[in-house]
C-alpha cells in the first residue's frame, strides 16, 4: 500500500511538473495570427492558394527558428486563412470572422473586389490590411491602415512597355482582355501607353471571362493583320486556349502578356511549337533556389504546381510580419506604419531589394515596390530576358 501511495504521489508530482512547464512555455511563446482572405476555391483559386500556402511555409520557417521576438515577447506565427470565393460578400464574412472571432489584427487579401468590400471597416477597427488588389482606388491618403504588396499596372506598366518598345520590333497590336473592372483599367492603360510609344493599336477587345470559344473573336481580330497580340491580364488557362487557337488560325506574330504569369499553362495547353516566343511578365525566376523550395512545399500541401504569384504574395506577407516586428507591438496597430518604414529595405524571396513606393501615384506611400521579370518561352523553357521595378 505504501509503495502504491508513493507511485501515485510521484506520478502526481511528475504530471504537475509537466503541466506547469507547458503553461510556462505557453506563456513565454504567444501567437501572432496573420489572417488571409483569398479565393481558395473556384477559378481564381490558383492565386488564393498561392497566397495562403506561401504564407504557411513562411510561418513554418519563422517557427522553426524559434518564432519572432516582438516587444520583448516571443511569438509563434499562425496563418488563419478563409475562402472568399473571389466575391465581395464572402470577403466581408471572412473579415468579420477573422476580426471578431479570431482576434486577428493583420490581414493579407488577394482580390481587389474583396479589399474594396472590407475597406470601409478597417479604419474603425484599426485592422492593418496588406492587399494584392489591383484597383487603383484601394490606396488613398485617408486609408491609414491599407497597404499594398506590389505595384499595380499603373505603376509597372510604363516600365514594361518601355522595355517592350526597346527590345521588340512588332508595332501593329491588338489588345485582348477579360471583361471586369480591373481588367478594363489595365486594357485602357495598355492602349494609352502603346500609343504613346508609337504603336498602331488596331483594336481593343474585352471578352466574357467564361468564354472558351475564341474562333469568332479571332476571326475578327486576325483580319486586321496584327503582328502582336497583347493579352493583358488574361487568366493562364484561357491564355493557353487563345494562343493555341490563334496559331491554328495561322497567326505567326508575337504574344505579349503583361498582366498575369501564364507561361507554364501556355506551354502545357498550347504546346511547345505554338508557345515559342511568347513574352510574359512573370513574378519569379523559376531557377531561383528559394522559390524552388517554396514550390516544393506547396506541391506537398496542395498536390499541384503553385501559381507564381506565390512569390510576391509571400513577400507581401513577410513585409506585414517584419513591419509588426519593427513596430514592437502586435496589439497596437497604430504603430504599424512606423514599423513599415523601418522594415525596408528588405530582401524578397528571390533576393531582390524591396523598397517602399506608391507615394506619387496614390498620394500615400503604403506600397511595396516589387520586381517583375520578363520571360520568353524558348525551346519549351522560360528564359528570363528582362527585369523591371
Amino acid at each position: 500500500m505504501r509503495r502504491t501511495f508513493m507511485k501515485f504521489g510521484l506520478s502526481a508530482i511528475a504530471l504537475s511538473a509537466a503541466l506547469l512547464s507547458g503553461a510556462a512555455f505557453a506563456q513565454a511563446q504567444q501567437t501572432l495570427k496573420i489572417g488571409i482572405i483569398a479565393p481558395l476555391t473556384g477559378p481564381a483559386a490558383p492565386w488564393g492558394l498561392a497566397m495562403a500556402e506561401g504564407a504557411k511555409v513562411l510561418a513554418n520557417d519563422y517557427n522553426a527558428k524559434g518564432g519572432l521576438s516582438i516587444g520583448g515577447k516571443t511569438y509563434k506565427v499562425e496563418i488563419v486563412a478563409y475562402d472568399d470565393k473571389y466575391k465581395a460578400q464572402d470577403a466581408v464574412s471572412a473579415y468579420q470572422r477573422l476580426v471578431n472571432r479570431d482576434g486577428v489584427k493583420h490581414i493579407a487579401i488577394a482580390a481587389g473586389v474583396s479589399t474594396l468590400a472590407i475597406k470601409p471597416n478597417i479604419e474603425n477597427d484599426k485592422v492593418v490590411v496588406m492587399t494584392a488588389g489591383y484597383l487603383a482606388n484601394l490606396l488613398d491618403p485617408n486609408a491609414k491602415y491599407m497597404y499594398r504588396m506590389w505595384g499595380i499596372p499603373a505603376d509597372y506598366y510604363p516600365g514594361i512597355y518601355r522595355w517592350l518598345k526597346d527590345n521588340t520590333k512588332e508595332r501593329r497590336v491588338v489588345i485582348l482582355g477579360p471583361d471586369d473592372e480591373s481588367q478594363r483599367e489595365m486594357v485602357a492603360l495598355s492602349n494609352k501607353l502603346l500609343k504613346e510609344h508609337g504603336y498602331n493599336v488596331l483594336s481593343t477587345e474585352m471578352y466574357d471571362k467564361g468564354l472558351k470559344d475564341f474562333l469568332p473573336l479571332l476571326t475578327r481580330v486576325l483580319a486586321t493583320k496584327p503582328d502582336m497580340i497583347d493579352l493583358g491580364g488574361t487568366a493562364p488557362a484561357t491564355a493557353a486556349v487563345l494562343v493555341r487557337q490563334a496559331r491554328e488560325f495561322g497567326y505567326k506574330g508575337q504574344f505579349f502578356i503583361p498582366g498575369s504569369s501564364a507561361w507554364r499553362e501556355i506551354m502545357d495547353g498550347a504546346g511547345a511549337a505554338a508557345s515559342e516566343g511568347v513574352l510574359n511578365m512573370v513574378y519569379v525566376d523559376p531557377t531561383n533556389d528559394n522559390y524552388k523550395r517554396f514550390a516544393a512545399e506547396f506541391r506537398k500541401a496542395v498536390g499541384q504546381e503553385p501559381n507564381e504569384s506565390m512569390a510576391p504574395y509571400t513577400d507581401g506577407v513577410n513585409v506585414l510580419i517584419q513591419s509588426i516586428v519593427k513596430s514592437g507591438s502586435v496589439e497596437d496597430t497604430s504603430q504599424f506604419e512606423a514599423g513599415f518604414r523601418k522594415a525596408f529595405p528588405m530582401k524578397s524571396m528571390q533576393g531582390d531589394n524591396l523598397t517602399i513606393g506608391g507615394g506619387m501615384a496614390h498620394g500615400i506611400d503604403h506600397q511595396v515596390a516589387a520586381f517583375r521579370y520578363i520571360g520568353a518561352i524558348r525551346g519549351g523553357q522560360l528564359k528570363i530576358i528582362g527585369k523591371i521595378q
Partner: protein, 284 residues
C-alpha cells in the same frame, strides 16, 4: 470571312445540338428540366482527362468511357432520385440543381480548382474555301453528326426508341398498351447523360477542363431547347444550328457578349410569341 463565320457557327452548333438532345429528351419523357446536365458534360471531360490525359488510353476509347460513365451515373440517379418526381417540374428543377452543385463540388475536391488541359489528339488545320478549319473541331463535328444519326435511327427504328416516343406523347395510354414506363424513364435519363458525357469528352482537348466547365454548355443547351421547343428533338437540332450560326455572326461582327445577349433576347421573344418553341408540342 463569310465562309469562316459559317464554319465556326456550324462547328459550335453541332456541339450545342448534342447537349440539347439529351436535355430535351429528359424533359420530353420525364418532364424534368435537368439543371445538372452541364455536370454530366463535365464528367465526360474529366473521364478523358484521367483515362486519355493521365493513363494513356486511346482517345476514342476514353471518349466512349466518358459517355458510359456519365450514362451509368445518370441511371443510378434516375432510379434513386428522379423516378420519384417524374412529372413534377418544380421538384425536378430543384433536385437537378442540387445534384449539379454536388457534382461540381466533388469535382472541385477531387481534382482541385485549377483548370487543366489535355494534349490534343489532333492538331493542324485544313482549308474549306476561304475558311481555316481546325482538325480537332472537324473530328468533333464528324463525331457529333454520327451521334445525331445513330440517335435518330435508334428513336425511329428501335423498340425502345418507339417506346420512348410513345411515353413522351401519352404515358397513360402507352402504359395501357404495355409499355413499362420505369424502363423508359431509366433508359431516357441514361441516354441523355451519355449524350452530355460524350459532348464533354469530345470537347475536353479543345477547351480547358475544370469543375465549372459545364455551366456555359448547360446554359446554351437551355437556350437551344427553348428555341427549338422543349421535348422536340428536331427542334433541338434546328435550334442548335441556328444558335451556333447566329452567335458566330454576332460574335464575329460585334462581340461574344452581344451574341449572348442576342441568344437570350431570342429566348424572350420565343417565350412571348411562340411558347412551345419553333417545333415544340403544346403542354399536355
Amino acid at each position: 470571312m463569310f465562309e469562316q463565320i459559317l464554319v465556326n457557327g456550324l462547328l459550335a452548333g453541332l456541339i450545342y445540338v448534342i447537349m440539347a438532345l439529351g436535355f430535351t429528351l429528359i424533359f420530353g419523357i420525364m418532364r424534368i428540366v435537368n439543371f445538372a446536365h452541364g455536370e454530366f458534360y463535365m464528367l465526360g471531360a474529366v473521364v478523358v482527362l484521367v483515362l486519355f490525359g493521365q493513363m494513356g488510353w486511346p482517345f476514342f476509347m476514353a471518349v466512349i468511357a466518358g459517355g458510359v460513365v456519365s450514362g451509368l451515373l445518370g441511371l443510378v440517379l434516375e432510379r434513386l432520385l428522379f423516378r420519384r418526381i417524374v412529372g413534377d417540374e418544380m421538384a425536378g428543377m430543384i433536385m437537378s440543381l442540387a445534384i449539379g452543385i454536388i457534382l461540381q463540388s466533388v469535382a472541385l475536391i477531387v481534382f482541385g480548382p485549377a483548370e487543366q488541359t489535355v494534349t490534343r489528339p489532333f492538331s493542324g488545320t485544313w482549308s474549306l474555301g476561304g475558311a481555316m478549319v481546325p482538325w480537332d473541331r472537324t473530328i468533333v463535328a464528324l463525331c457529333a453528326l454520327a451521334i445525331i444519326v445513330v440517335f435518330y435511327i435508334f428513336l425511329k427504328f428501335s423498340r425502345l426508341g418507339l417506346a420512348m416516343q410513345a411515353v413522351a406523347q401519352d404515358p397513360d395510354t402507352s402504359s395501357l398498351m404495355g409499355v413499362e414506363s420505369g424502363s423508359v424513364y431509366a433508359a431516357s435519363f441514361s441516354i441523355a447523360c451519355v449524350l452530355a458525357g460524350l459532348g464533354g469528352a469530345l470537347m475536353a482537348p479543345i477547351y480547358t477542363i475544370g469543375p465549372y466547365m459545364g455551366e456555359l454548355p448547360m446554359l446554351k443547351a437551355f437556350v437551344v431547347v427553348i428555341l427549338g421547343g422543349l421535348g422536340s428533338l428536331p427542334g433541338a437540332v434546328a435550334g442548335g444550328l441556328l444558335i451556333g450560326l447566329s452567335e458566330s455572326v454576332l460574335a464575329t461582327h460585334l462581340d461574344a457578349t452581344a451574341a449572348l445577349i442576342a441568344s437570350f433576347v431570342i429566348v424572350l421573344l420565343v417565350v412571348i410569341t411562340r411558347p412551345t418553341g419553333l417545333m415544340g408540342r403544346s403542354v399536355r
